[in-house]
């Protein structure tokens, strides 16, 4: 029982909730870029929310199944086809031996997930199956254990939640909400004005480590040397040349650049799905709002 990579994609991998508890040793957390779509896929195939899941970027890998499985495709719409037939997203799909899953076109979003019912027989390191910088290779086989664990046909994941999550991720042009960080106070007034008013976009220099932004360059009131300290996913760093970098799932654990602020956790999946051609605005939010939004989102996935 396995899936096989027929054609290699640009940056596809197995991801779970990531690896925490080792950042003091410099070990990156990794994990899904868009954890909301991963939760959704896992919930639909009745896996645990934090179950490992296949993460695809476009051009994506072509996958062949060697046995029957229940799968679900969530996140970015890359126009999935099974053999020659188009298949719906956000719904359980039965696949059979020799079926091939292909992604045709990056219609909406940047990161797509394929949830598969069952456990992956993959090496685990420090309690996670996410590996830093590890990509699926051509001909790679990913073994799947646990066929007996079929999905309950009478259970259906709440379609209203599916609709809500999809809308939140893709049909929503609200600003990306941030909380000011330690170097916010060192920004010039003009820079704060730009960051909160000007449109920014994500350059093609965007990978699992971080997204570089295009937009007005920012500056600090005086050149400042910061002692390196811990950074988190969603941290917005100001480089000495005025450019901004947002740290994503494979971020390094500490950083010495000006730490301007953090994108709130609930908006990170939305940010991860924004394509290069789209414009982004940022707005400030409050800590308590960020927590409430996250808790409300999470509550919808708990049965």
């Amino acid at each position: 029982m396995a899936i096989k990579i027929i054609k290699k994609g640009i940056a596809d991998s197995l991801q779970d909730q990531g690896r925490y508890g080792y950042q003091h040793q410099g070990i990156q957390p990794n994990g899904c870029m868009d954890y909301l779509s991963a939760w959704l896929g896992n919930a639909i195939v009745q896996n645990d929310l934090h179950h490992p899941i296949i993460e695809l970027h476009f051009p994506a890998a072509q996958i062949q199944f060697t046995t029957n499985h229940t799968i679900c495709i969530t996140g970015a719409n890359f126009v999935p086809v099974l053999n020659e037939k188009s298949i719906p997203m956000n719904t359980p799909i039965q696949v059979n031996a020799m079926d091939r899953l292909t992604m045709l076109q990056p219609l909406e979003g940047k990161t797509c997930y394929v949830a598969i019912k069952g456990d992956f027989e993959k090496p685990q390191w420090l309690d996670s199956q996410s590996f830093n910088g590890k990509r699926f290779e051509k001909e790679e086989q990913i073994l799947i254990l646990d066929q007996s664990d079929q999905i309950n046909p009478n259970f259906k994941f709440n379609p209203l939640v599916i609709e809500k999550v999809h809308h939140f991720l893709f049909n929503n042009h609200d600003p990306i909400r941030i909380i000011p960080g330690p170097a916010w106070q060192d920004l010039t007034e003009d820079s704060i004005h730009h960051l909160l008013n000007a449109p920014y976009s994500i350059t093609p220099q965007a990978n699992r480590m971080g997204f570089q932004l295009a937009g007005p360059a920012l500056s600090l009131t005086s050149p400042n040397n910061y002692l390196s300290s811990a950074v988190t996913r969603g941290t917005i760093q100001l480089l000495p040349n005025g450019e901004l970098i947002v740290l994503m799932a494979d971020h390094q654990t500490i950083g010495g650049y000006a730490n301007l602020g953090q994108i709130i956790l609930v908006d990170l999946p939305r940010f991860a799905q924004i394509k290069t051609e789209h414009l982004i605005k940022f707005s400030l939010t409050k800590l308590a709002t960020a927590h409430n939004l996250y808790q409300e989102m999470y509550a919808q996935f708990k049965h």
């Binding site: 950042q23 003091h24 002692l227 956790l265």
Partner: protein
């Protein structure tokens, strides 16, 4: 959320981390307090705490929002109290915290130019003999102030001002594992082959990061390290990369 108590600043970093910060200085005494706080918080086994990351003058506590803030109405107020109470009890109990005897770890380094890719240039630029560079690099007892950039990459200080040098303007594509570099007041060891901009003045035969879960990083923040020079022959004998 931002508050202060005694000499500590406590502030939230985004919505899922809290920073405990002392004054921003490269100071062994400050580092010592930071690592003691880490040990203190770790021993409390607080629900939802994912990571405790020490670096120079800060300790960053990363948490999982849902368990950490379970049944909390006013999270801002809660986090402020949480941080303040933690520091108050730390200050009260810190004299009783068992302080592991921090022995100086003596690390062998071969400074032969076959490994020390930048030592000849450094010697020319600074008009200091290679022998003196080695002597100056081996004299201090360095503190590990931070680990990051790569798993197990140690940021140590402080390098003698006479041999301080900026990073390469353009980083090398591949610095070999074990390479010992300097950058400004810092010195460090590349735990694995990677791109890197530090000036390379030697190489240790020791494996600095081993992915075996019982081993991982050879050093931790707060360790004291002193280098000693070895010949290429001794390097071969001690070489753990074979």
């Amino acid at each position: 959320m931002r508050t202060s108590i005694n000499k500590w600043a406590i502030y939230s970093l985004g919505d899922h981390a809290i920073v405990f910060a002392l004054s921003a200085q490269i100071d062994p005494a400050i580092l010592h307090t930071i690592t003691a706080l880490r040990q203190f918080i770790e021993s409390k086994k607080i629900k939802g705490v994912l990571d405790l990351i020490p670096s120079y003058h800060t300790l960053t506590l990363v948490f999982d929002i849902s368990p950490f803030l379970q049944n909390i109405d006013n999270s801002t107020e809660y986090m402020k109290n949480f941080g303040e109470e933690l520091i108050i009890s730390f200050e009260k109990e810190k004299n009783q915290i068992h302080d592991p005897v921090n022995e100086i770890i003596k690390v062998p380094v071969c400074y032969d130019p076959i490994f020390a890719l930048d030592i000849n240039t450094l010697s020319d630029e600074k008009q200091i003999s290679i022998a003196t560079i080695i002597e100056l690099h081996c004299a201090p007892i360095y503190q590990v102030y931070s680990i990051g950039f790569l798993p197990g990459f140690t940021y140590m200080g402080t390098v003698n001002a006479q041999i301080q040098t900026p990073r390469h303007a353009k980083p090398r594509n591949a610095v070999p594992a074990g390479s010992v570099g300097i950058a400004g007041p810092q010195t460090g060891i590349y735990p694995s082959e990677s791109p890197g901009g530090w000036k390379i003045i030697g190489k240790t035969p020791w494996v600095i990061f081993d992915p075996a879960p019982s081993k991982l990083s050879r050093f931790k923040v707060g360790d004291q390290i002193q280098f000693y020079p070895i010949t290429t022959l001794e390097f071969d004998k001690l070489n753990e990369y074979k």
